[in-house]
Each structure stands twice: as C-alpha cells, then as structure tokens.
C-alpha cells in the first residue's frame, strides 16, 4: 500500500517578473517501510520537495496524498496536526530552540499534541529517546553546549517523540563530519529496521548506495527512480 502519493506536483516561485519552477511536475509513490534517498545537485528542488512532503509548504498545483488524507485540500489546523503526529522532520540546520535543554527540545512536540500524555509518561519517553540516540547523559545540556552531531541526534529524538510513521530528513548530515554523519545514518537505518518510512536527502553517493531506492532530481524533475 502506498503511504505517499505525489502526482504532478509543481512549485513555482515568482520574483519580480521571473518565475522559477522549483518543481516542474513531480510524481512518485512511496510505500510503507521504504527507505528512499533523494539525490540531486544543489538547487535541483530537493528541499522544496521535502517541505511539501513535510506539510511545511504547499504546492502551486498537483495532488499529494499521505495515508488517507488528501493533503492538498487540508486546512492549516489539519496540516499542523499532520506535522505533529504523522511526520518527523529532521533539518540540515538542526533547528533546536537554543534556550531549551536537549530534553525540553525533545518534549516540545507534546506541547502541541491533542493526544494528551501524562507529564510523567512524556518525560519517560523523552529519556528513552535520548538514550536511544546515545545522549542519555546530555539531557540537560543546551544546544550550544553540544557538537553538531549531538544536536542532530537531539533533533532526531524530537522527530520521534510523537512516534510518527514517516521520518523526513533534508541533508541531515550536510553540516557534519564523517563520524557524525555515520552515526546519524546508523540511527536512520535502525529506525527503518523498526518499521519507519524514511525519506532521506543526501549528496553522498555512498549513503545513497545504502538506501533501498534512490530518486534522482534535476531542475525540478525526477530523472531517475532506481531500486538497489
């Protein structure tokens, strides 16, 4: 069964009199439990695609179905609900809140959940996730006190907080050294083994080679869609 259906998704940016087609008609399906790598040169439209997948942005045209929702037709509150429950987004720039501790960052999605967990259950899950990403003893540190790799692992723990079926990662290792990148990739493979659907943007062919499927993008179009 398809978890994600993208059909003829377009995104155009107009700056003054110039229109840029960041996505010029993208169609693909992603099934449950797939590990998909999205690859392509800089400026090819990968981030635009991920933002639409993550319900952070809306396409200019085309239909996007996620599970049983027709995302293209949803209103702002429902999109917020999907971002909270169905998708865990991992950014290249980590995007942690600097004034909160690592644990507080991980717990942040609970604040916006309609499904109410007790404070104790939330904290227990937060501890468990911090342990899972190997940062059990860094829970009360602030982001500035952590390395890039550690911050990205906190961001992954945060993405997992509401136990979403889909994890979207937009160049999560783009700012990391090879050791940090390997740790992130190991966690991602681990999550995939646990049954998560993973869409992973990368420049790195060795990472791409470890994915089940690679979708290649160029100039806002899918130029290749291969299964390894």
């Amino acid at each position: 069964m398809n978890l994600i259906e993208f059909s003829d998704i377009r995104k155009a940016y107009t700056i003054g009199s110039v229109t840029i087609d960041a996505l010029a008609g993208v169609s693909f399906d992603i099934g449950e439990h797939e590990f998909v790598a999205i690859m392509g040169p800089s400026g090819s439209g990968k981030s635009t695609l991920m933002h639409i997948l993550g319900c952070l942005d809306t396409p200019t045209s085309g239909t996007y179905r996620l599970e049983d929702h027709n995302v293209s037709e949803l209103r702002s509150n429902d999109l917020a609900h999907i971002r909270n429950r169905d998708i865990g987004f991992v950014f290249q720039a980590y995007n942690l809140l600097p004034h909160l501790s690592a644990l507080e960052n991980v717990l942040l999605p609970c604040t916006y959940s309609t499904h109410v967990m007790s404070g104790r259950d939330e904290r227990a899950r937060g501890h468990e996730l911090m342990e899972r990403v190997g940062l059990k003893d860094r829970m009360y540190n602030r982001p500035v006190e952590m390395s890039g790799g550690e911050q990205q692992r906190v961001a992954i723990a945060r993405a997992l907080m509401m136990d979403p079926p889909v994890i979207l990662a937009d160049e999560p290792t783009g700012n990391l050294n090879s050791k940090g990148a390997r740790e992130i990739l190991d966690i991602m493979k681990d999550l995939h083994a646990d049954g998560k659907t993973i869409v992973y943007v990368t420049h790195d062919d060795t990472i791409g080679a470890q994915a089940e499927r690679v979708i290649r993008i160029q100039d806002g179009r899918v130029v290749a869609d291969e299964r390894n």
């Binding site: 942005d57 917020a80 609900h81 971002r83 429950r85 995007n95 004034h99 942040l108 604040t111 916006y112």
Partner: protein
C-alpha cells in the same frame, strides 16, 4: 498547548530579556500608578468633603446671601475663607443676611429649628513667642449644637459672652497643642491679631484634613466680630439652621424661602440642605475623579504602545522559533495564545507593580498633601485595564506571528 505551558514559556521569554521587559513594563507601571493615584486623590477629596458635611448633621440647612446655584463656591458648610471671599465678590451690596432677618425667620417659622449665625475671618494667634494662623469663627452657643462641636476641656461660648462682648474664646485642638504643648489652655490668655483674649474652652478634634476645620479655628462670641474685627454691624455671612426633625428639611427650606422672600421682596439668598450639597459634591467629584483617571489613562496608552512595539520586535526576533514550533505541530491559535499571554503577562505584571507603587506612593507621599482613598474598584479597574492593554496591544503582533507560513519562518535568519 495547555495554559500552564504557555505561562511557563511566557515567563521564560520575559525573563530572558529582563532589562527590555522591565523597561516595557515601566510604561504600564507608570500608567497604572498614575490612574490609581489620581483616582485616590479624587476619591479622597470627595470622601473628606462628604464626611465633613455629614459630621455637622443631616438636618442642617445653610443660608447664605445671594441667589447662587453654585454650592461649591459659597455653600460649603464650614465655609473656608476662600468661599466667603468669593461670596462677597459675587454678591451685590444690597444682598446680605442680617441678624434681624434671622430674628424675623425665627419668629415666623412653624417648625422647630435652631439658628446659628456665623462670621468668619483669618486671624493670627499668638502665645508668648509661638504664632500660628487660623480661622476666627464668630458664633453664638448654638454653633456648638448645630455643627456637632463638643468641648474637650473647659466650657463653650455662653449667651453672656455674646451679649457682653466678652473676650472669651474656645480654641480648636490644633491651636491647643501648638500654643500650649504641655498644659491646658483653659484659663490662659492668648493674643489674637494683637489683642488679648481668655481661653475658656478647648473643642474636641474632628480630625478633618481638607479645607478649614474647627481644629485650627478659634470660636469667638458673635458680637466680638463687629466690635474688634471690622465686620459690618448685624451682618451674618453664613447661617446654619438645624431642623430638629431632619425629615422635614425640604418643607422648612420652602417655608424659610417664603418668609425671607416676603421680607427682602426678592430671592437674594440661597438655602441648601446637606442632601442637596452631598449630591452636588458627589457628582462633581465623580466627574473630577473620572477626568483624573482619564489623564492617567493617557500614560497607560503610551505604555500599551510600548508593549506593542516590543512584541513586534520579539515576533521578528523569534520568527525562526515560530517556524520550528509550527514544524512540530503548533497551530495558529497556539502561536497567537503564546504571544498574547506574553504581552498580557508583561502588562499585568506592570499593572500589579503599578498598584504597589501607587499604594506606597499615596500612603507615604501624596497623603502628606491631601487625603487619598484607594478603593477596591480603582484596583479592579487598574487590573482590568492592564489586561485589556496587554491583549489589545498584543493582538496585532501575535496575529502577525500566528500567520507566518512555516517554511518562510524557518528560512528566516
């Protein structure tokens, strides 16, 4: 997002920018303190005027020369010197009340009344090297009855003092403590405007603070006024008429008006009862208090604009945070509430501090100059106002924040 989280977030954000938050609050602190303190002055003035009126008896009527409607100018029951100056200036030479008028009224009025004629002038009082200024009240023994002035020590002015023009006086409590700090004044001689008088009694304090009071006054026999203080023969500046049955004041006013109009052939005098004056004072002072509150409200408005300004800055600075929160599932409403709570918290804390400042300020500073009364309703008004200011001036910045598109907010550097 539950409210407890929102409050914690808001306090955190406010605390993170302590100096800026405090400066923003300062606008509200000043605004609220101004509103509460100015209202306290208005209410205090009203209360002290009213209590002074009511302390002299609800059955009292006040008869003064000149047909005037403005009670505040001439109808003040104990008649400050200013009031009399104004009445003298505003009344034509023919319009005056004389002791003959009063005898005429007493002979004809059918209800039981007590008539107390008084004249008043500013005097200088001296004992040895101690000098003070005060009010000289020229009165008959009925004065003590109608104005509810009791004698703490000695006796009051007697009919004999009045008919013999004896230089016997009753002094107010403040005069006693100022001129004779260590002994009773009764039996002592004092000098008033240079001449020698004998103190026969000391009036009990009435503890009033606004305008003239019996505490700083000396009561002299009525007849001494024309003999030694240049007051025109038989002239009465002001007469208090006590109705023995206080429920009949309206009828007595009508009757005395008829009697005196018959004698004067025109209405060149004013008679008012306490109720009428109370109503007038109350409405005048309520308007004054509202006006004062409105003036304070202006600075509150400025404080509110300060909050709006700082919230707009805060929204801009935290655009990325808003994007992150939205990416994690925050709805527009969550962001709106977050910023509204923050702005309200700023203005309510400012309001509470403002109330503290105004309570301290009016207790320790303003009350030295005038009576202040901080009412529960002015506190409620202040709290209500500061919540309203926080919400009103917070809505625009909060809506701006709530409506940011997640991807655009995240892109913000």
């Amino acid at each position: 997002m539950d409210l407890r989280d929102s409050f914690r977030n808001a306090t955190r954000a406010i605390w993170a920018a302590k100096m800026r938050s405090f400066l923003t609050m300062l606008g509200i602190i000043i605004g609220i303190a101004a509103v509460v303190m100015l209202m306290a002055v208005g209410n205090g003035t009203k209360q002290s005027i009213l209590s002074r009126m009511q302390s002299s008896g609800s059955g009292n009527l006040y008869l003064t020369a000149g047909a005037r409607s403005n009670v505040l100018m001439g109808g003040n029951p104990e008649g400050g010197a200013g009031g009399f100056a104004a009445s003298r200036a505003g009344v034509s030479s023919g319009a005056e009340i004389t002791t003959q008028d009063l005898t005429y009224i007493e002979a004809r009025v059918t209800y039981s009344v007590v008539v107390s004629p008084t004249n008043q002038t500013n005097i200088t009082i001296k004992n040895g090297n101690t000098t003070m200024s005060g009010t000289g009240i020229f009165a008959t023994p009925t004065y003590f009855q109608v104005e509810n002035v009791t004698i703490a020590d000695g006796r009051m002015i007697s009919d004999g003092d009045v008919s013999n023009r004896t230089r016997n006086v009753v002094i107010g409590n403040t005069v006693q403590t100022t001129l004779f700090p260590n002994e009773s004044a009764v039996g002592q001689l004092i000098r008033i405007n240079g001449a020698s008088y004998k103190v026969v009694g000391v009036a009990a304090s009435k503890g009033e603070t606004v305008g003239s009071s019996v505490d700083t006054a000396i009561v002299l026999p009525f007849s001494v006024g024309e003999k030694s203080f240049g007051i025109a023969h038989n002239r009465v500046q002001r007469t208090t008429i006590e109705c023995v049955d206080p429920t009949q004041t309206k009828v007595v006013i009508a009757e005395i008006t008829d009697i005196l109009t018959l004698k004067h052939k025109k209405v060149d005098f004013t008679i008012q009862d306490v109720a009428a004056m109370t109503a007038l004072v109350t409405s005048a002072m309520t308007i004054l208090t509202a006006l004062l509150a409105a003036i304070g409200g202006l600075s509150l408005l400025v404080g509110g604009i300060g909050i709006m300004n700082i919230m707009l800055v805060s929204v801009t600075e935290r655009t990325r945070e808003i994007g992150i929160r939205k990416a994690l599932g925050a709805r527009e409403r969550d962001i709106l509430v977050q910023f509204l709570i923050e702005s309200s918290l700023l203005s309510v804390s400012g309001g509470v501090l403002g109330i503290v400042v105004s309570v301290l300020g009016s207790d320790f500073v303003v009350s030295r100059f005038t009576t202040t009364v901080i009412t529960g309703s002015s506190i409620l008004l202040a709290v209500g106002f500061s919540i309203a200011v926080g919400v009103f001036f917070g809505v625009y910045p909060a809506r701006t924040a709530a409506r940011l598109k997640p991807v655009e907010a995240l892109r913000y550097e």
